[in-house]
């Protein structure tokens, strides 16, 4: 039997030790506290088995490889096209599917107003003017919505719960999330993020993968397009400012 991960190995060890020691403590030593300790080892072993089965099947190294490859391809596309404008994270109602990001091809001081669903293509026209063309891309955040059991609600507490559930519970990318709503924007603080921030052009357009996940879920929860206005990484926390479009 191939042992898949450290939790399964730990579970096996604890259950084995518990099964071996509990009868010895109870029958030979006649010690109730030690017997209870043996029982607690059995319970911990069962818990470790349960958690081992819930671990991601793809090893972290493979996941990092896929993420790196996807980001490099996207970065090459963005650099080749000379895109400088910030991506607009669109909720699924505007993309006919899952949340995606629109990167306008031309930098424009005034952000476009998108009020109808865009076609499912890479290069899309999002407005009436000839220059209203952009790239509609799937980001790391696009796929995370499927990790939630239901569409996140629009209140701060529901949004915070959804982000914490994904970032801390499912992906294990951070320890926690806190939300601060303001006029026309949302401030999000991610504590102890575990994804490194790289100073590259793609991150200036789309935001880092962490900001992308936060922006996608927030856009879906608020049902409004938004952009990653600012991202600040300090020791132990990441502050992300989102602006509603």
């Amino acid at each position: 039997m191939r042992i898949r991960n450290v939790y399964t190995s730990l579970g096996l060890g604890l259950v084995g030790a518990g099964l071996g020691l509990t009868p010895i403590f109870y029958l030979l030593l006649r010690s109730v506290p030690l017997t209870a300790l043996g029982i607690s080892m059995l319970i911990l072993g069962a818990v470790c088995f349960a958690l081992g089965r819930a671990c991601p099947r793809i090893p972290p190294e493979a996941s990092a490889l896929l993420l790196e490859t996807g980001l490099e391809n996207m970065a090459a596309l963005v650099e080749e096209l000379g895109l400088r404008s910030k991506a607009i994270y669109l909720p699924s109602v505007l993309t006919n599917g899952r949340p995606q990001a629109l990167i306008p091809l031309h930098s424009n001081p005034s952000l476009p107003e998108i009020n109808k669903a865009l076609p499912q293509r890479l290069i899309v026209k999002y407005g009436p003017n000839p220059e209203d063309i952009g790239l509609l891309v799937t980001t790391p955040g696009s796929a995370t919505l499927g990790m939630l059991e239901a569409k996140p609600g629009a209140t701060s507490s529901e949004l915070e719960a959804a982000l914490t559930s994904v970032l801390a519970g499912v992906l294990d990318l951070a320890d926690g999330v806190s939300i601060n709503r303001s006029e026309g924007g949302v401030g999000i603080v991610v504590s102890h993020p575990r994804l490194e921030y790289k100073n590259m052009q793609l991150y200036q357009n789309l935001g880092s993968p962490l900001a992308s996940i936060v922006a996608s879920i927030t856009a879906e929860a608020l049902n409004q397009p938004l952009i990653v206005e600012r991202e600040e990484h300090k020791q132990g926390e990441c502050r992300i400012e989102l602006r509603l479009v």
Binding site: V6, I39, S40, I43, L51, A54, P60, E61, D172, K198
Partner: protein, 91 residues
């Protein structure tokens, strides 16, 4: 590889450490008070594992299902203890 690779998931590690700590503390306190009934120890372990699973609301659904299954088995054990105690009283 720019992203550090680590062993296990932090949220799972924390859960296991908390549970182990609670079990150890419970055992030590009850032993210090001279508690000699095994079912008291077991009942407290059951309460602690159920409470901790409830507090960890952000665990992913698969982990939650697995932990709930462990909880059901422990609860079945608890009900077995209750039935035995009732039978002791009645017969």
């Amino acid at each position: 590889m720019p992203h550090r690779v680590k062993i296990g998931m932090k949220v799972y590690n924390r859960y296991i450490l908390w549970l182990a700590g609670l079990f150890a503390l419970t055992t030590v306190i009850l032993a210090a008070y001279g508690q000699s009934q095994l079912d008291v120890y077991f009942s407290l372990y059951l309460i602690e594992s159920l409470a901790l699973t409830l507090l960890y609301v952000h665990l992913n659904p698969r982990a939650r299902r697995g932990l709930n299954l462990v909880g059901y088995v422990l609860f079945a054990g608890f009900m077995g203890i209750v039935i035995m105690k009732v039978m002791e009283i009645l017969f």
